[in-house]
Amino acid sequence: MSEANAISNNTPMIELKRLNKWYGDFHVLRDIDLTVKRGERIVICGPSGSGKSTMIRCINHLEEHQQGEIVVGGIQMTRDIKRIEQIRRNVGMVFQHFNLFPHLTVLENCCLSPIWVQKKPRREAEKTAMEYLERVKIANQARKYPGQLSGGQQQRVAIARSLCMSPEVMLFDEPTSALDPEMIKEVLDVMVELAQEGMTMLCVTHEMGFAKTVADRVIFMDEGQIIEENAPHEFFNNPRSLRTQTFLSQILGH
């Protein structure tokens, strides 16, 4: 299939090497080094404005970095749009505000990219889409428009839409923080299931329960740097840096 699969399974899925990024004078990412193995599940947390979104958005080039290297599935990121699109086809992304296409039905949302990017026949794309919608338990809403669904339902559609491209990596940027409390669980359930199936996942979230259940590693960021990374048990019980301790006491405190 894709070039990425041809590479041995031992090569990392994602490699960030000495990644630096500025917005004007503002140094938003500082010397980020991160290696994600195939099938690894990583949770990223940190205070607001610490650069979490910026970092994962660099991985599919929604943001451009100025220094350092990004390698995704063995493909080196450059400015070449062909290469960027090749990487994007292999990397799914779920946004805080769902970003479903409101003028298309749920099914059309899911089929758009398979049809136009992977050039699948419509019939086949719809069949695959229905399977994924089934998996996120929303197949019965396939003919509705996103505006007619609840937030939790929309986010599950967004996950299904990404999965329809059969990506090897899924990026989540605070997928539950725009949701009402009673809908958070239905989305987290889908994500846990996905994690258990062995998907490589990078997940910016403050849902610590989720981190404890599925994460292989938790990463704490502050002021554009990775301050600490550890297995969830260690991370929550013995945070090493003071900043991590303060952060944890704040989010677990209430």
């Binding site: 699109e85 970003n99 296409f101 758009l112």
Partner: protein, 366 residues
């Protein structure tokens, strides 16, 4: 006594909101005494003001005949219009060849009907034919000079057929050019952006009359003398470019209203720039600015009559020319009222159709 019912209560009808004409009148015009008095006064004033118009246009009017002698009553003499009907529709198009114009009109009407009636199938293919095939077929039929059709130079075109030609070319041409300009103006490439900004601001800054004058008087100065460039063609290009600048700004307003997340979601799914624009951003942006687009179409339609200043005879110019005919002096009111009516019918139809489209495209998101 039992605390529950033995039978289900029959389902009740929801309260009836509209009870025919009487019900409508009662709720809207005659709800309460003050309301009723105001309604009566307004109706009385309206009748007093409108009555002379109705009297002039219909009751006291002359409808049949073919010369001035038929105009005997006090009201309007519509015989003036019917006597000049052929010129109003075809301009100076040779009489023997007018069937060619009729065919174009017929295809035009059929296409519009096909695209408007929701039940008819194959909208996409019909639409593509309307945008590409139809202009070519019409151009061949109207102009001739090929396939054994006699050549009819554009200086003989006139009347309604000319008005519709200019309006259709302007509308069909200005929208896509405007969309490209709007996208270009938002481009990250400085050169593309610069060119689009300059283009838009230039055309928006000059009056259409100047554009038409430049197209007819100045352009020939710049192109080699032996390269004969049709006057109508020049006007069409000028009108298209002029209105595309307005269209660009309307479309840009729509593009700005679409959240960045939409394009980002498309990018994350691997869609390229043109796919993102064509499949995600533009469908939403254009839908949002349908009122603005149609408003521009309506302005364009009405401003086609400005071509009379470069010697092209559109519907208004033809009617106006008819007023100076010594047999028909003194029918200016009939002439102008009829011209206004023609413009109004087309513009009002566009306006209604746009409202209909807007409702149909509503997918329930805010």
């Amino acid at each position: 006594m039992t605390a529950f019912r033995e039978q289900m209560i029959a389902q009740r009808q929801p309260p009836d909101q509209r009870r025919g004409v009487i019900g409508w009148l009662r709720t809207n015009l005659f709800a309460g005494p003050i309301n009723s008095i105001i309604s009566l006064i307004v109706i009385a004033i309206a009748i007093r003001l409108l009555w002379p118009v109705i009297d002039w246009a219909f009751i006291e009017a002359d409808w049949v005949g073919n010369s001035r002698e038929a105009c005997t009553s006090d009201g309007a003499c519509w015989v003036f219009i019917s006597a000049r009907w052929n010129q109003i529709v075809y301009g100076f198009y040779p009489e023997a060849l007018r069937w060619r114009v009729d065919i174009v009109f017929a295809i035009f009407a059929a296409l519009i009907a096909w695209l408007i009636v929701p039940k008819l199938p194959a909208k996409k293919s019909v639409g593509i034919f309307a945008l590409i095939g139809f202009p070519i077929v019409s151009w061949i039929l109207l102009l001739g000079g090929m396939f054994g059709l006699d050549h009819v130079p554009t200086r003989l075109w006139g009347g309604l057929m000319l008005t519709l030609t200019i309006a259709a070319v302007g509308i069909v041409g200005s929208l896509p050019i405007g969309v490209l300009l709007a996208l270009g103006r938002r481009s990250k490439m400085p050169l593309v952006k610069g060119v689009c900004v300059v283009f838009i601001e230039f055309w928006r800054g000059v009056p259409l009359i100047t554009v038409l004058f430049m197209a007819s008087v100045m352009l020939p100065l710049f192109v080699p003398a032996q390269m004969e460039f049709d006057k109508l063609l020049r006007a069409l290009i000028g009108i298209m470019l002029f209105w595309s600048a307005y269209m660009a700004e309307v479309v840009r307003g729509g593009l700005q209203a679409i959240p960045k997340g939409q394009s980002e979601a498309g990018a994350a799914l691997g869609l390229g720039y043109w796919q993102r624009m064509g499949l995600i951003v533009l469908p939403q942006a254009l839908k949002l600015v349908i009122p603005g687009i149609v408003n521009t179409f309506i302005s364009l339609f009405k401003d086609t009559s400005l071509v009379l200043i470069i010697g092209l005879f559109d519907v208004l110019a033809i009617i106006q020319a008819g007023l100076t005919d010594s047999d028909w002096l003194g029918f200016a009111i009939e002439g102008y009222v009829f011209a206004a009516l023609i413009f109004w019918v087309f513009c009002f139809s566009m306006s209604r159709y746009s409202q209909y489209i807007e409702n149909r495209l509503n997918t329930g998101h805010k």
